[in-house]
Symmetry: C2
Subunit: 347 residues, 2 copies
């Protein structure tokens, strides 16, 4: 096999001979050039398969495309990213593109290094999921590589595509749902990020909806990091304070599941003593022991759409596209009206 | 910035001039060659930093190292992989190495394509986590690239390193723990993989321990896939059968959490009607709503060790090393002795 790689590797010439076409024709099929007939594609691909031909990525890299897409995630713990990845994978399934992942651990410096290294490694384009880099870093990056972001909001013109759910609306819908189920002292557990625009949007939606329902006095936003210790400390303090909320809107499911655990340990009944709502509607919400109300932002659709847009960009589209999904609340046991609660009664 | 990349890019020559050393000396520092003095390293790195020099990965690839490590995971949904990744990341933190991830979706064909594509993209070495490829594929792969596996057991000589917990012992400890807590009808929910040696080891340990405790007649192994639907169907059938077990040992936490949900929906009390034990001791086990007994196999240590071994291999070590962690049961509410149960009483 090692020898095969060095000397016995199948060449593009052999594929051309086997298919009875020119080397240039094989090259066109490989590049996915426009105007190649289906018949030619079928013939060449059959020969590639038969001969077990595998194009050298680095050789391709020298000529232009490597057919590799770089995707960055903030971390691997949040199950929402698995949904997005499933969508990206299903978009790439019938293409020549493969993906390489990088994990930034929610650290802007690591993410910038990752992006640079993906550009060095000749990725054809980048998808940044929940990016943490300074927004000012994105424009120059987009001038070097086709770029699509998921979970990042830009205002006005931009040189890259964005794929989002309407985060502001998502937060508004959560407050509306909780108010309809009799909760009034609704606090928000947010992320202490200085760069995340999706967090800004959700906080904005939360404030706006609290105002619309005449609940300004109960507005309370806790911004905490993502480590279990930080979430525990902040949540314990909040739930043991005299000002304890009767509902907690958490910026992601993953944090909401931790909140349910902490509240349970403190002897609070959910949803009687505390309603909990998450965001992302990941598979864990459905588990009977969690039964977590959450906002569905169609992670798989976001992933699918981002890959489609990126391939369009790689093939030459210049104008930015901004794709937005409308979120919806999926109500479950963690926030439904119980006991003495009713429309607008509060606690 | 785009222009800078094409024409204004800082060259190795400029770094050499700035540092007042030869180009060959800079090259040595870049390659991390042996015998380079600390003084030279410091001088050259200071110039690189000052000039914002960034070596071209593909150019480096032509010469030899790309300082990129390829890591494959079966999927992103299983939170255990986040623990392994944290370990790999902390081992690489103070090195020049960066990692690129690939996700095989537990499909051998996708994993083989990923491995090939990582070799094409000149990764310096590979870490395969929970590999699903045919073991016969691994030796030829190792002859092309330094290779370390996590969660794959080999017998005798091999051309790659392995990092494992003792999966057989892990399963034995689970059965011992359950028997000590009064359970006897202990079934195992396993994975329907034809290639996973860690699954073979765990099933072997389970059978052996059941035999040692005189419980052969209760041996029952369900092999199911990883989709929620498959787990639900198989678990419902098992828990509603006349032969319902009183304890279920699940091959990974992620599946055990699903089992808790299904059992709860069926009205079974945990651990009174059914004990549930997982494997991996991921952070979800600790959540009060799960309270899941699990086997700790030190995921972070496995990741850390795999990266260390891989770098040794890249630097020239030839003999295979096989690192093994001793697992331990972390007992929680999902399996503790309750009600009428006692030592050896059973149900």
């Amino acid at each position: 096999m090692a020898q095969n790689q060095k000397s016995g590797r199948v060449t593009i010439k052999e594929v051309a001979e086997d298919a009875g076409v020119s080397v240039a024709a094989v090259s066109k099929v490989l590049r996915e050039a426009y105007g190649v007939s289906e018949a030619l594609k079928t013939k060449v691909r059959a020969s590639m398969k038969k001969l077990n031909y595998r194009p050298l990525a680095t050789a391709r890299g020298m000529r232009g495309q490597t057919f590799t897409i770089g995707v960055t995630f903030p971390d691997l713990r949040n199950p929402f990213f698995a949904d997005i990845l499933a969508g990206i994978n299903s978009a790439l399934e019938r293409t020549q593109y493969q993906l390489m992942l990088g994990v930034s651990l929610s650290t802007p410096l690591i993410e910038e290094t990752l992006i640079d290294s993906m550009i060095d490694r000749q990725m054809d384009g980048l998808i940044l999921v929940g990016t943490t880099v300074n927004p000012a870093f994105l424009e120059p990056t987009a001038s070097r590589k086709p770029l699509v972001t998921i979970g990042h909001h830009v205002e006005g013109e931009s040189s890259f595509d964005t794929v989002n759910n309407d985060d502001r609306l998502g937060a508004i819908l959560v407050v509306r749902h909780l108010v309809a189920n009799g909760y009034r002292k609704i606090a928000m557990l947010s992320l202490n990020s200085t760069t995340s625009t999706l967090i800004t949007e959700r906080e904005h939606g939360y404030r706006q909806a609290m105002g619309d329902h005449g609940l300004q006095e109960h507005v309370q936003i806790l911004r905490v990091g993502q480590t279990l210790r930080e979430v525990q400390t902040a949540t314990r303090r909040l739930l043991q304070s005299p000002d304890k909320p009767d509902a907690l809107f958490c910026w992601t499911d993953f944090i909401a599941l931790e909140v349910i655990s902490i509240a349970t340990e403190l002897g609070l009944a959910i949803p009687d003593d505390l309603a909990v709502v998450g965001y992302d509607n990941t598979m864990y919400c459905d588990f009977a022991q969690n039964n977590l109300t959450s906002v569905d932002q169609s992670g798989e659709v976001l992933g699918l759409q981002s890959a489609r847009l990126l391939i369009e960009r790689i093939r030459g589209r210049q104008e930015a596209e901004h794709f937005v999904v409308t979120p919806r609340v999926v109500a479950r046991g963690s926030s439904l009206a119980v006991g003495g609660r009713g429309m607008g009664q509060g606690s």
